[in-house]
Symmetry: C2
């Protein structure tokens, strides 16, 4: 290894260590930190963030990337080292484009916006949030300017979450799936509805955790290298190689709030657990994009966890934990219940058939605001009318409408599309996997998930950030990210459940 590469690796290792320290402090803040510590914790996190940013954006690091990019021309373009330089240099160039003053400005704007959003949502008073959202959008327009040239102002935002993905690509994909999804929902609405009352019984917390622990272990989540803890808003976080933490919330009156969500977080966790140690403390460590990450959480939650063979296998075990609640239900009725389709106001509670519609609505609004074709003050009306046209329902208030999500208050614009893209990618991978594993359903029905995990590790997890999302999906499936497989999946699954 060249001295320069060694020097760069040492610097990246130090920066990684600061970031992992911040990740531990962030995890603790959401799980166990006493309330009186928030100011202190904010200071320490700000210091760690600043030191990491200063070290990463230093001239010395820039020079190493430049010089190593020259050397790397002679290396195998597909080697980890070559990719490490390429991706690290891109990270460097993006981060050095943002002046420190703007980073501080973003923190200030989003702190104020987040406070206002909480109050606005609580009081159902959009006008409290309106001036802050104006500022968030103004900031994001100026932020996008830093990354010119681009084809569309929104490209600059998307790039932070989904490297290489363009606005027009996402719009084309969404335009392709929208009419079919709307038609499917209309057809489902005309059929007899599914009874999911079994999920609304009383499920004591201890049994739920026992069940989630049992299933995620069988999926392959290794609790020697991870754990699960209670929080208000569940997430997954990587605190360093060998330390993947997933989190959960329990609703004792509705089983899926915990159980399906812990499958989801375990899916995120399995991705991070599957990245090999050689990539740790380098630019290649971590998931390659939010959409690919979400494809993994959705794959384990929905394509595995809401499948018929899974419940053939697992319902008998769940009956041992909750004999009174599910003892007498059939696999078919339980399978239908966990797949009930019903247009609803809240994105995070949406089913597989309606979820993407929530995302399209948000992306249209984000693009409208960034382009200037929509005004912040009109959002409640725009939101409600599109909810009516996409899902046939109208929010009773802004709390279950335009104010429901935290993302904009944190300045996160361009983030939402990755959720829907994740759904689409999960189906693309699932179809391709079926070709390689013709007896996959039988394996699931026996509770054997090892080949699924092995396939995903080989195709996705082991690469970390080595390949960009489009490149990764194309390498695996021969196609770029698109909605065809997901539409086929929805039509097959719900066509059968609802007798279409």
């Amino acid at each position: 290894m060249s001295d320069k590469l060694n020097e760069l690796k040492n610097r990246m290792a130090e920066i990684s260590d600061l970031d992992f320290a911040a990740a531990v402090l962030g995890w603790d803040r959401e799980t166990y930190m006493p309330p009186g510590a928030s100011e202190t914790r904010g200071q320490v996190l700000a210091t760690l963030g600043r030191l990491s940013h200063e070290k990463f954006t230093s001239d010395e690091v820039g020079k190493l990337f430049d010089e190593l990019s020259g050397e790397a021309k002679d290396w195998d373009d597909d080697s980890d080292e070559a990719r490490m330089i390429k991706i690290g240099k891109r990270d460097y160039e993006r981060r050095t484009k943002v002046p420190s003053a703007m980073i501080e400005e973003r923190t200030k704007i989003s702190n104020a916006a987040n406070d206002a959003w909480r109050k606005a949502r609580q009081d159902d008073n959009f006008s409290l949030f309106e001036p802050h959202l104006e500022k968030v959008m103004d900031f994001n327009r100026r932020y996008a300017e830093l990354f010119k040239p681009w084809d569309h102002v929104y490209d600059a935002l998307l790039e932070d979450y989904e490297p290489g993905m363009k606005t027009v690509d996402v719009q084309t994909i969404f335009d392709g799936i929208r009419p079919t999804q709307v038609a499917l929902l209309e057809a489902i609405a005309d059929q007899p509805q599914v009874d999911d009352s079994v999920l609304h019984k009383h499920y004591p917390t201890a049994g739920q955790i026992q069940s989630g622990d049992e299933v995620t272990r069988m999926f392959g989540f290794n609790y020697d290298n991870g754990r699960q803890d209670a929080v208000h808003h569940p997430f997954m976080t990587n605190l360093g190689y060998g330390d993947i933490r997933i989190t959960y919330r329990v609703d004792e009156q509705f089983l899926p709030t915990y159980l399906m969500a812990i499958f989801h977080e375990a899916g995120h966790g399995l991705y991070e657990m599957g990245i090999p140690k050689e990539k740790f403390r380098t630019s290649l460590y971590g998931g390659t994009s939010l959409a690919i990450h979400e494809s993994q959480s959705r794959l384990w939650e929905n394509l595995v966890g809401r499948s018929r063979p899974f419940w053939e296998f697992y319902l008998p075990k769940l009956k041992k934990i909750f004999p009174e609640q599910v003892g007498s239900i059939s696999v078919e009725d339980f399978y239908n219940a966990v797949n009930k389709v019903e247009p609803s106001m809240i994105r995070v509670e949406a089913d597989e058939a309606t979820y993407n519609m929530h995302i399209m609505l948000r992306m249209e609004i984000e693009i409208g605001l960034m382009e200037g074709s929509m005004a912040v003050k009109d959002l409640p009306e725009i939101w409600n009318s599109r909810m009516q046209s996409y899902l046939g329902i109208t929010p009773a208030n802004n709390a279950e409408g335009v104010l429901q999500d935290v993302h904009w208050s944190f300045g996160g614009v361009g983030y939402f599309p990755t959720y829907a893209l994740g759904n689409l990618v999960s189906a693309q991978l699932w179809e391709k996997m079926a070709e390689d594993m013709p007896n996959r359903d039988e394996q699931i029905a026996k509770g054997d998930f090892s080949n699924i995990l092995g396939w995903l590790t080989e195709k996705v997890y082991q690469h970390g950030r080595k390949y960009d999302p489009q490149e990764l999906v194309e390498n695996i499936t021969g196609e770029r990210i698109n909605g065809d497989a997901y539409i086929r999946y929805l039509q097959n699954k719900f066509g059968e459940i609802y007798g279409l």
Copy 2:
């Protein structure tokens, strides 16, 4: 505030933030971290430690201390700013005296020594630990050389834990109390023994935690700014202003393992909680020495928690939590039980009357090894014979003898005396407090601890590191640290319990 003082404060704040980040990671490692993360965590902690050390020992910081020491000559010597410079400069000078190579060497020696100690203790084979302890002592002799001139080689080690305290002072104190403590133990041994079987009943964990939570809240531990969690070896740690964590271990067959230990850790925590926010992120934040810290843990554990008025107040409440276990016992019998004196092998389980003897033994050995008048290979024999002469018992093996403590394996020599000094100081403060609060017993018997906490906050806690231990004790009591009050306390208390 001068620009230079401002500059120094900013640098100290950044260094503090790195140290508090490390504290969070350290706490997590002992409480929740999955086992697979230990290597990663070690790397991150090493990076944080190195960055903090580099920043603190930088030439720029040294220059600021030098220049500000000049300016400070015009300041009120008792002001926080003047003390901040004085104490920070002393820290700086000590830390810059140690070459980086020696810091790395210490880490290597203690990692190997700790592994060897674990194995040696498990196999009851002192010879496995012997060469490592030789290295630890050799290192400490070279470390002490860095701090010459001194009167005694051990002074240099003591100074790290107990600023300003000299070996001869500690020896004089210990020589003063040794004969009286030995005589007291002999007198107790001749009396009818106390029955503590009530403590050995089955106490389910949940009730123990409920009880510990209830009492520590009444002491004044604020759970909005702290919490308690389970660990193998209990400790207290400060993760930043407003974030004091105490930890515990539960033995369901012996109540004091949890209950008295949580009083102890809460005592440490109350000290840290009582340091005002102005001192946070400066050289004045934290406890001033290990002995003063221990005086606070022992004061709440023993002088409050093992007192008769405390049990007059609290036994009726404990009876509600554990009606079967303690429902029929009298305050007198319970008070006697928690104060049972019995020479035993293990320091951490020792009672108030025997504890100091364990410490004197260790300090004599540390001094003997540092001076070269004892050889490592002879330690088992020296240990056992002194245990016989001080406590009248002989360990059956080295695991309950010379191998019982972790400290030496981590290179910690000079630490042990602070435990005994803490006992002595707790009694000095307690006597002085009684003068200021003649009705203290009645307050305790009513469950009112607010005046005790207020007195300690005013006299000790609010000062943080502003005064060195001897100066602090002298300011409060008019005397330097000495054993008279503790001996009076032991003679009164145990004279009464054992009818001497």
